[in-house]
């Protein structure tokens, strides 16, 4: 009874005076929030559709995260997960006390990261600038088709190809032998291992990595170049003042991602080639975890090293992202 009354007065008020109508509008909103069980019932079908994906996500991403507790245990494979005796921080002593094998792996990892950030990271930028300046659109496509291809080959294939080209009885040495020249020992040579790994990474992914830079280059407003030309800028100055600022955001984004991965260097690539080279030159953090854990059975120590590596990795991404924000860039994410 009273409801109808107020409603009718409101409708009259609307026609009578605008101030009253605002009061009517400010009445509690009619939108009712459904109780959670009602929402589940309503979205039942969607939840079922999400279930397999969520299950895989929880099983293979989040459950292993919880499984890191074995870093604080003396893991015994025959006991159920979580039943092994606790040992506190004992597994972390290899890191804290600087076990020589661990330090060697850390040093190799950092050397490879440094070399790859300096040599591998800028290569696709240079290649993208080169491709972008090509006159013929069709020729550019053809070059792209060829240079993108190695990205889709597995590391096993890439390593096999490098062995066939640079190995003892490979293409290069067959040629040198036929010319009566001395052969070169490249594959399996510890001194050249960093160079070999770096050239493999470049062969495989430089072409592919140009995609994002080429996309950024195509977004640059061509009138900027015309303006620069009117101002008398040379070609080099146009690149410096127009092209490079135009791809700055993408460069910073990818650099953040690379720095976040500082402790991760070519795991599969290195595992495949460790045999001939020896651990001193080839062990990195990921292979240390693999060799000590899955091969050597020191589960707790390997998990501890893996856990610290993962935590440092997350900290590096978050830190690099923060620095990007301070520099006025978007970075990988904004919170």
């Amino acid at each position: 009874m009273s409801r109808t009354d107020s409603a009718s007065t409101a409708s009259i008020a609307v026609s009578a005076s605008p101030t009253l109508s605002r009061a009517a509008l400010e009445a509690p909103p009619p939108r009712r929030r459904l109780a959670w069980h009602a929402r589940i019932a309503r979205d039942r079908a969607l939840l079922l559709m999400a279930a397999p994906g969520m299950l895989l996500l929880l099983l293979f991403q989040y459950l292993p995260l919880a499984g890191n507790i074995i870093a604080f245990q003396n893991y015994l494979p025959f006991l159920p997960l979580g039943q092994s005796p606790w040992v506190g921080l004992e597994n972390f002593t290899v890191i804290v006390n600087g076990d020589p094998a661990f330090l060697n792996a850390l040093r190799n990892t950092l050397v490879l990261t440094l070399v790859q950030v300096v040599l591998v990271f800028p290569a696709p930028i240079a290649l993208a600038l080169l491709m972008n300046s090509m006159l013929s659109e069709r020729l550019k496509r053809a070059v792209q088709s060829v240079l993108y291809l190695p990205h889709f080959l597995s590391w096993v294939i890439v390593v096999a190809i490098f062995q066939q080209v640079l190995g003892g009885s490979g293409m290069l040495n067959s040629f040198l032998r036929s010319q009566g020249a001395e052969t070169l020992s490249i594959i399996g040579n510890p001194d050249l291992f960093v160079a070999l790994l770096t050239s493999q990474v470049m062969w495989k992914d430089t072409g592919w990595a140009t995609i994002l830079f080429l996309a950024a280059l195509s977004q640059i407003d061509t009138s900027l170049y015309e303006a620069a030309k009117v101002d008398g800028a040379s070609r080099m100055r146009q690149v410096w003042h127009v092209t490079l600022p135009g791809i700055r955001a993408v460069v910073i984004l990818l650099l953040i991602l690379r720095l976040g991965d500082s402790l991760t260097v070519g795991f599969e690539q290195i595992i495949l080639q460790q045999g001939g080279v020896g651990l001193a030159a080839s062990e990195v953090l990921d292979t240390y975890v693999y060799n000590n854990g899955i091969v050597g059975g020191q589960w707790g120590v390997a998990a501890a090293v893996g856990l610290v590596k993962g935590l440092v990795g997350v900290a590096l991404v978050v830190g690099a992202n923060k620095i990007a924000h301070l520099l006025g860039e978007n970075g990988v994410y904004r919170s």
Binding site: A45, M49, Q61, P64, L65, L81, L135, I161, Y225
Partner: protein
């Protein structure tokens, strides 16, 4: 006259920088030719060696750039029913089943995540995005697979990598771009979510499904490490592991391994290169399809993800 102005206009549209001097262009051409040759030449050498006959392989010391007498013996040998044939079947099976599982799970998940405001949609999306920030760690991942009883099972090659968060995000972005009116009107007509998904969303997403499917397939075909740690039974090895054993590690291939009746095998180098070719060819077959779409796919993910 008209052609020259036409070219000038085209030039200014596609090429923001003035045409460089001839020496500069020659240098660029040389650099690009060298780079393309560095990719193409190894393939030529590998295919040639796999096709060369014994006399030529012996004469060249193991590597042939152009075969004089083409011989298919090495292919006949590896397809005779031995370890390579079996590994090929394993790889094909894992790739086909894995891609089907991945596509089904990812598209369903992406559709559910694209319906904003539904129960649990936000937290589930957060969990998915968060998983991009960390990798779960090798040892705990191995232990989970072990505890699930998947060691020495083909499912260990499929389930741990079945869901790529990145692909789900790309699919979700694509599904969200489908006009809401289409979906809403079907919902008003009484279609359930599964019906909308199967009858409206999937048919409109054929291109993106093809790309994502190919990415998953290439991933399964190329994966080697999961097989290395999860399969102790060498009879279950996929092609990539066989390639590692006989080509990368240069293990001698015996006639018994290949199931070949004759002891007189083609030269090792030819057999090795034939295995390598068999591993590469499927990638080369799908590559043109991938290439047509991937730039688009990568960019959707990068922009909207």
């Amino acid at each position: 006259m008209t052609t020259s102005t036409g070219r000038a206009q085209r030039g200014s549209r596609h090429l923001p920088i003035d045409a460089p001097p001839l020496s500069m262009r020659a240098l660029k051409a040389i650099v690009l030719i060298v780079l393309c040759a560095a990719v193409i030449l190894p393939f030529v050498g590998i295919i040639s060696t796999s096709l060369a006959d014994r006399a030529q392989v012996t004469a060249s010391g193991g590597f042939v750039l152009l075969p004089t007498n083409v011989s298919l013996d090495s292919y006949r040998t590896i397809f005779a029913g031995g370890v390579v044939s079996r590994a090929l079947m394993v790889s094909l099976g894992v790739t086909i089943v894995g891609t089907a599982v991945s596509l089904a799970v990812s598209t369903l998940f992406a559709y559910a995540l694209s319906r904003q405001g539904s129960f649990g949609q936000k937290p589930m999306l957060m969990l998915l995005l968060l998983s991009l920030l960390f990798s779960p760690g090798l040892i705990p991942s191995y232990l989970v697979v072990k505890e699930l009883g998947l060691l020495d099972s083909y499912w260990a090659l499929i389930l741990p990598t079945a869901l790529s968060a990145f692909n789900v995000i790309v699919l979700r972005a694509f599904f969200m771009g489908i006009p809401a009116e289409l979906i809403d009107s079907a919902r008003i007509d009484g279609a359930g979510h599964l019906m909308v998904f199967a009858r409206i969303v999937l048919p409109l997403s054929k291109a993106v499904l093809a790309v994502i499917g190919l990415f998953y397939a290439v991933g399964y075909w190329n994966s080697f490490f999961n097989a290395l740690i999860y399969l102790n039974d060498t009879a279950k090895w996929p092609l990539q592991l066989v390639l590692r054993t006989y080509v990368v590690n240069n293990t001698e291939i015996a006639a018994t391994d290949l199931g070949s009746g004759s002891e007189n095998l083609p030269p090792q180098a030819s057999i090795q290169m034939a295995i390598l070719v068999v591993t590469i060819v499927p990638i080369l077959i799908v590559y043109p399809f991938l290439q047509r779409h991937f730039a688009k796919g990568v960019l959707t993910g990068a922009v909207k993800g």
